[in-house]
Symmetry: C2
Subunit: 199 residues, 2 copies
């Protein structure tokens, strides 16, 4: 049986590491790259090679910086009393899009997942506590995934932060906008009931 050329196989192996990309999709990507012109391939390759050097995370909040200044850490325009804890730097953009939050962010970078070796140490709690003290944060909002890992992390952080007398809240659980009750799972419905709001 004939195999793909060696260099194509290497490229396919790299493409397969992208999230949600399996063997077939990676092959499709590789063959489509073969049809790009040289300039496009060069620019794409350049973008990947220089990615980490050009796009760096803010040492303070962990959000991505465009240039040398972190626009998420601009305390002159943002509310220092509110700190929103997020799992990945990408979440900050989603929250900014809502236009609802004017506080500061704190990127954990990872969620608790003992099986993958992500223990509380990976969360770098001392840095978080230092920031909270320095900024004079009054409320910490936990905006983590509503998954096993996210919930475990939220619970852990809540306990640790409340020890220091910090007010902790987390995002509301309930019906997504535009959803029909028929299609909402039991867990969500039950959370929506217990978290019902005065109307």
């Amino acid at each position: 049986m004939l195999k793909y050329p060696k260099d194509l196989l290497t490229l396919i192996a790299h493409l397969k590491k992208l999230p949600g990309v399996g063997k077939k999709t990676a092959e499709r990507f590789a063959f489509s790259l073969l049809e790009w012109d040289n300039k496009e391939l060069f620019e794409f390759s350049e973008g990947i090679a220089t990615l980490k050097e050009r796009v760096q995370a803010c040492a303070e909040c962990g959000c991505l910086m465009d240039g040398v200044q972190c626009s998420f850490c601009d305390t002159s325009r943002r509310d220092k009393a509110l700190l929103c804890i997020i799992g990945s730097s990408r979440d900050a953009y989603a929250i900014e899009e809502t236009g609802n939050f004017r506080g500061l962010y704190h990127v954990l970078g990872t969620l608790l997942s003992p099986l993958e070796g992500k223990t509380p140490d990976s969360l770098n709690l001392p840095h978080l506590e230092d920031r909270i003290k320095q900024l004079g944060v009054e409320e910490v909002i936990l905006a983590l995934d509503s998954t096993l890992e996210g919930d475990a992390t939220s619970l852990y952080l809540k306990e640790e932060l409340q020890k220091n007398g910090i007010e902790v809240s987390r995002l509301a659980l309930g019906l997504p906008l535009g959803s029909s009750l028929d299609f909402v799972d039991e867990g969500t419905l039950s959370q929506a009931f217990s978290g019902r709001q005065k109307f």
Copy 2:
């Protein structure tokens, strides 16, 4: 509203050009690339930059070569009397996997699609006819997509090749293996009827 860093946006624009990748998926890819280590990013970038130089198409049949020799053109081990016409170099690997075909291949590189400016000239027919003459091909098998473009191309090639008295066949149309009649569309079913085989 805060935007992604400039360099990340450029990378996302490149990723969006991959087939089936929209804005959201490209963003997911870009953020996942941020988590790769430097070595992986370097190798990936290198693989893309050198792709076209290292993976080249055979000037004769259009299939991809692994090194300097085309393993699809090895006439000592393959049947010169059979020529299979395929749309893209990738199709040759799928056909090789069946283990059913021992002839030679001819990659068109494109299908007829007048709206996209793909006219009969793009098919490079003179080269195909030269190959047929030189190899002494007795039967040409059209193995093109069963789409509008594929069918138009098959029809065009059939007429052109039959003018020169070459025997032309095309892949059978019918039920895919393991399919249930309930789920088969009318067109396929009708083709399966008209192409029914003695049993």
